[in-house]
């Protein structure tokens, strides 16, 4: 029995994409992760809405509770729309010793996000500006430790960053809009 609310909110193209991804992967090792990754990646705002999760649950016959548990367990999955630009600051120890906390703080301040997000988990952050232009995230380690401190700006790794270079990048991205 399909849930009509889910069908209302996912368009036909997306539905057939999801159906295809499920058909390709179901039953293989790591299938659920792969399905969620592919579906999130296709979304223009890089997130999984509850309707999409519900739809995947119906199609795969995996309980929604389990899909939700997986989507919330892994840091890569977003349940909220992401900004047009993503800046990800590495909080690994090599980056930490080279000042990545300071970088993160100044970036948050610059984008007016210094109050946003759960500060109790400062090392697991994902906050988006109200205008949807920027998302600031953190990652445990990119494995680019020799370039510490490292930031990933729209999936491009930048090594040896400092507050000034970050500020310049943000300005450049802001100007493009």
């Amino acid at each position: 029995m399909q849930n009509p609310a889910a069908l209302n909110q996912i368009n036909g193209n997306d539905r057939s994409f999801i159906d295809q991804v499920i058909a390709n992967r179901l039953g293989r090792p790591g299938a659920l992760l792969g399905i969620l990754e592919a579906v999130q990646d296709r979304n223009p705002h890089k997130y999984l809405s509850i309707e999409v999760l519900r739809y995947i649950a119906e199609k795969t016959h995996i309980p929604l509770a389990r899909i939700y548990s997986v989507a919330t367990f892994y840091a890569l999955f977003n349940l909220d729309p992401q900004g047009q630009n993503t800046i990800c600051i590495c909080r690994g120890t090599a980056c930490h010793t080279r000042g990545s906390r300071k970088l993160l703080e100044s970036l948050r301040l610059e984008l007016g996000l210094n109050e946003a997000g759960d500060m109790s988990e400062a090392d697991k952050l994902s906050v988006t500006t109200p205008d949807g232009k920027f998302t600031i995230r953190t990652v445990a380690c990119f494995g680019q430790c020799a370039l510490a401190p490292v930031a990933e700006i729209n999936h491009h790794i930048c090594g040896h960053v400092n507050e000034r270079t970050l500020e310049r990048e943000v300005k450049a991205l802001d100007g493009e809009r």
Partner: protein, 487 residues
Amino acid sequence: MPSIQDISTFHTVRDSGLNKLVPSMPRVAVGMGTCGRGNGAEDVYQAFAEAIDRTGADVQLTGVGCFGACSQEPLVNVRLPGRALIVLRRVQANDAERILYDVSMGNITPDLTYCQIDEWDHITAHVKYGPGYPELLPWNEVPFFKGQKKIVLRNCGFINPDDIEEYIAVGGYEALYKVLIDGRPEAVIEQMKAAKLRGRGGAGYLTGIKWEFLAKAKADQKYIICNADEGDPGAYMNRNEIESDPHALLEGMIIGGYVMGATEGIIYVRAEYPLAVHRLRRAIEQAKEYGMLGENILGRGFKFHIELVEGAGAFVCGEETALIASLEGQAGRPRPRPPFPAQKGLWGKPTNINNVETWYNIAPIITKGPAWFTETGSAKSPGTKVFSLVGKVHSTGLVEMPLGTPLKNFIYDVGEGGVNGRTIKAVQTGGPSGGCITKTWHSSAPSWVRAAWWSWTKTTVWWMWRATSSSSRIRSLAENVFPAASA
């Protein structure tokens, strides 16, 4: 290229690969690992490509993996026909034109030269690049490389990771071929036991014994897993190994599959390593095309498939039971053992999990034999280990040293001490749950300098869940691996 089903086709492919690796024209190879890219290697490559286009120079341009000297990136190696390989360091895009000019004149670019390599033991084959230049330092006389022994990193920075033919040119897939022709899986297990190869994920369990468990397990389906969920901050050995030499991982796993009687292999890579994922995906496609994976591998009737699974940003999935839960579509939470994966693993079937680096040691042991392997390293733990040397040391990078090398050699010889000549105050090993080692290197002068030095990536994950044995394990590791540290 048709799939390889006999020795003569295999040799044809190897010759074709050698023509690319040591061509009769100059070859310029840009180090295109993530560390190189983070330092501008893509721009450098682009600049070479444009300059070659513009001048019509007769030069072969290619991308290779990383040679390990991260602090000298971007690295470019240049070889004139019949001569030694020259490694250039800190090459910028605007150097491309003059390097190409020098190449066309048969010269080297002195101010950028780091070292030279006249011949190289790729372990599975030996390649003579050509006679060296008297004025240049051989690679192993550069402080960063002195004392290093590259077994795992044997091909990193030399071959194009996107080209299976270059891997075959340096002896790749020969060990697999040999194992399939010999047809004696139990003999391979004996070799692994005799080599005393220990799992490189950190727990240090004997690989031969682990393989024997799975080989003896009776089941309609068995699985082999490569744990490439390298997550400990500071550690990036596996990333570089995969990015630079993905076929060596596949070869180790295919051999493992044959020996243990499994037909399905899974590589679980963390999603934070997009380039590694990309290169592995391509390597798997090529291996299928050339007959190294699929239904009738190398015409010997063995069937093996490899599936690539991307993690989704959960550190804990590097622990083997959590990794299995993740593959089964659950949140990656560890469960108590026993049952061990060799008894009940993925979907309840017998499963073997080895770390990336363990798989890289398989082909060399088969090619050179256990006696050769045990010549290196300590008596209890032979071989080498790749370490990432990062933090406030002068020379950062990936270092492959014999096990049992004292810590001070890493810091003061390879790493050349603290950055800007400052004193090293403490050294951290083993990731977040490893310890800080201060005793031997405690400086009497106050200093802000700290060196973060990481090793044994998954070691810490193991210890976290085996708290009861952790202190004795750490001590024994320290005694075995870092005699100076525990003295």
